[in-house]
């Protein structure tokens, strides 16, 4: 399996006082997919413009290893690899972040290829990559297995084992700076939207529910995301948050919702501390 690597030169916005910003890791990982495709398949503009295929997200996992601080390293190395699953109807992107002689975080993404129906709006429908794209992948980068769904089991386990602490709801609006080239929201905003909901709830309730303060003071251990449908630019959304104490650790379940016809649930995000 081929891996592409590059260095990010550390700047202050890559970090919060608690460690590497999840949004930055989401964004650099996505750039890793663009780099890998440009090196081994075709560039992103040509994938959308010439091949008329794109990819949308179904699932995302981020887990942190040892916390990495701003002063620990001058650069962060990123390794990214890409493979096909389910005969080209799914794509897996895996990234790892290394600095100061250790791994700081790892991510995996499950994506669904989509065939672009019209080149103006970039509206699309799910479709396996055709053989003309799949043939760029090496045999060990082409799998037939179906990826497991992680988030539903995680939500069930947290709800069963945890003690519910507090809940809240936070609206948001998809301005264009949340979005990407197709005027669809960018998945890189997911950690920011959930962080806003978490921090608002924790700031409002931590005096009577002290463990909520973990959501302000402790570094994240992991984020898991399952997406059902996207938001588009100028959509209104809402994050419904439930918080749990699971064996002394804080866990948050965020439901990304809207009031649009066709289903209110856009995705589920689990943050664990």
């Amino acid at each position: 399996m081929r891996t592409i690597s590059w260095d990010i030169v550390v700047d202050t916005c890559l970090f919060s006082p608690l460690g590497l910003q999840p949004r930055a890791l989401f964004s650099h990982s996505w750039n890793g997919l663009a780099r890998w495709f440009k090196a081994h398949v075709v560039s992103f503009p040509k994938l959308l413009g010439d091949k008329r295929y794109g990819m949308v997200f179904l699932g995302i996992h981020l887990s942190y290893d040892q916390p990495l601080g701003f002063f620990d390293a001058d650069t962060v190395r990123v390794d990214a690899s890409v493979s096909l699953l389910r005969r080209g109807s799914r794509v897996r992107l895996q990234t790892e972040f290394f600095a100061a002689d250790r791994r700081a975080a790892e991510m995996s993404f499950l994506l669904c290829p989509v065939a672009i129906d019209d080149g103006v709006s970039l509206a699309a429908r799910p479709a396996a990559f055709p053989e003309s794209i799949q043939e760029y992948f090496l045999p060990d980068e082409r799998g037939e297995q179906s990826p497991p769904r992680v988030v539903p089991d995680l939500v069930s386990t947290i709800a069963a084992r945890g003690r519910e602490l507090a809940s809240g709801s936070q609206p948001f609006f998809v301005h264009r700076h949340y979005g990407e080239v197709a005027d669809q929201w960018s998945f890189t905003e997911i950690p920011c939207i959930c962080e806003s909901a978490r921090e608002s709830l924790a700031l409002a309730r931590h005096e009577d529910v002290p463990v909520l303060r973990h959501g302000l003071s402790k570094p994240l251990r992991s984020i898991d995301v399952e997406l059902q449908r996207p938001y588009f630019v100028f959509d209104s959304g809402r994050v419904d948050t439930e918080t749990y104490d699971v064996d002394g650790r804080l866990a948050m379940i965020h439901k990304l919702c809207s009031s649009q016809p066709g289903g209110q649930l856009h995705g589920t995000v689990v943050e664990r501390f």
Partner: protein, 88 residues
């Protein structure tokens, strides 16, 4: 009828979200929309003038099947057009 547009369709309707059209059927109404905002044509319709399958239509909040496009609807009907996904 009143069309409700959102998301990536808005830049083709000059950012108008609610557009009133006089028409007996939704299919006819879509052409009324296109008359007002010609940039919507390649986005909403394919080369055979059929509504592209990437859009989901709702009549008064209920999903609309393809055969419902050409059925008569009340003049006060609300029609929502959503794009399912885009190739981003």
């Amino acid at each position: 009828m009143r069309f409700f547009l959102s998301g990536n369709l808005l830049r083709f309707s000059n950012y108008h979200r609610e557009i009133d059209v006089e028409a007996a059927t939704i299919y006819e109404g879509i052409f009324g929309l296109i008359n007002q905002y010609p940039d919507l044509r390649p986005v909403l319709l394919d080369g055979d003038d059929e509504v592209r399958g990437v859009h989901r239509l709702f009549l008064d909040g209920q999903p609309l099947a393809a055969e419902g496009l050409r059925e008569a609807v009340p003049s006060e009907a609300d029609v929502t057009i959503l794009t399912a996904i885009a190739g981003g």
